[in-house]
């Protein structure tokens, strides 16, 4: 093998490095607007999903938390949405919750990201489980392993009681965060 000078080795790597960085800078410039747009659309969909009747929303920051206030056509506030995170069975769960402050009840929830077990804990994303929280009054909830009989009961997913409980806890915390930011029963 012929001797190769250190200078040539460094030069080769530097040239490849520079070409690579320039190409990627261009790719980044080109794709970023699309990526931002997808994120914005996804966020919008999530907000409207948990705030029925809202036509537009505004982002507001209170107590260091970001809330999404949804307004209807007439311009009055229908409710507030909030992104809450907490530990699940396997990893972090991130969900969006929408509440009706006037009637002190939950409009609904949608799970944004999670890493629960497919087929078991992952069923927290299914309507059968999420509907547990639709129109639920604020308060402390009990997770039960049968059909929910009372307003404060949440029916667990069979085989995934822990995931069901974790989500319930995240929601309880989220409700109290929203309430303290919006001054209790206002």
């Amino acid at each position: 093998m012929e001797k190769e000078s250190i200078g040539r080795l460094v030069l080769t790597l530097t040239i490849i490095g520079i070409i690579s960085a320039l190409t990627l800078a261009f790719v980044y410039q080109w794709t970023t607007p699309y990526i931002k747009e997808h994120q914005a659309v996804a966020q919008e969909k999530a907000v409207f999903n948990v705030l029925p009747g809202a036509e537009k929303f505004e982002e507001v920051t209170k107590n260091g938390h970001t809330f999404y206030e949804g307004y209807n056509n007439a311009g009055s506030r229908v409710g507030v949405a909030y992104i809450a995170t907490g530990g699940g069975f396997q990893g972090q769960i991130e969900l969006m919750i929408g509440v009706n402050l006037n009637e002190e009840k939950i409009y609904g929830i949608s799970i944004l990201t999670h890493s629960e077990t497919p087929g078991l804990g992952a069923r927290i994303t299914e309507d059968a489980y999420k509907s547990n929280f639709v129109n639920k009054p604020f308060g402390d909830y009990t997770v039960v392993k049968r059909e929910a009989a009372e307003q404060t009961e949440v029916e667990a997913i069979s085989g995934a009681t822990i995931s069901s409980e974790k989500v319930t806890t995240i929601i309880e915390n989220a409700v109290s965060t929203i309430q303290s930011a919006y001054g209790g029963g206002m």
Binding site: L24, A25, V27, F89, Q90, Q92
Partner: protein, 196 residues
Amino acid sequence: MEQFTQVILLFISTVLINNFILVRFLGICPFLGVSKHVETAFSMGLATTFVMTLTAAATWLINTFILEALNLPFLQYVSFIIVIASLVQFVEMFIKKTSPVLYKALGIFLPLITTNCAILGLALLIPLNGYSFIASVVFGFGAGVGFTLAIVLMAGLREGLEFGDVPGTLRGVPITLIIAGIMAMAFMGFSGLISM
């Protein structure tokens, strides 16, 4: 105290619950390739743990002080892989100079570590999880320990298997994969042990 508990929990969860090989599927190549004998598997685990801990620290610093500070997220993959490759090279030279015995034991594995996806996976998971510097190092160390645990257990099973009567078609890779599947099932028992 609170922080200390967090760190311990992170360590346990990285080693057992989110084991890099059996739950996250990172580092399968060495897991299948270097798990014929317990001794070599342990050396491989040791070398990997060492590189992983260093990688965790180095990539955290680069990500925080260079990539994020200068807003260059698109260079993340390129720079991480360069860091890992240079780190492995550096560790190799260092061990060669300081401890010929250790070099003899680990030497042949070191170049393989660059293309071990567990290392790059680790580097990428750290910014994704938003760990602090301390947490990153613990995470890297825990990932290495979990890797070592899985690969040594596997080697133990395969050593025993040498005397087993395995049907011809399943000999070699297939039976190794099936054993790995059973081990993964066993590790599922750890999930829910602690919640992060």
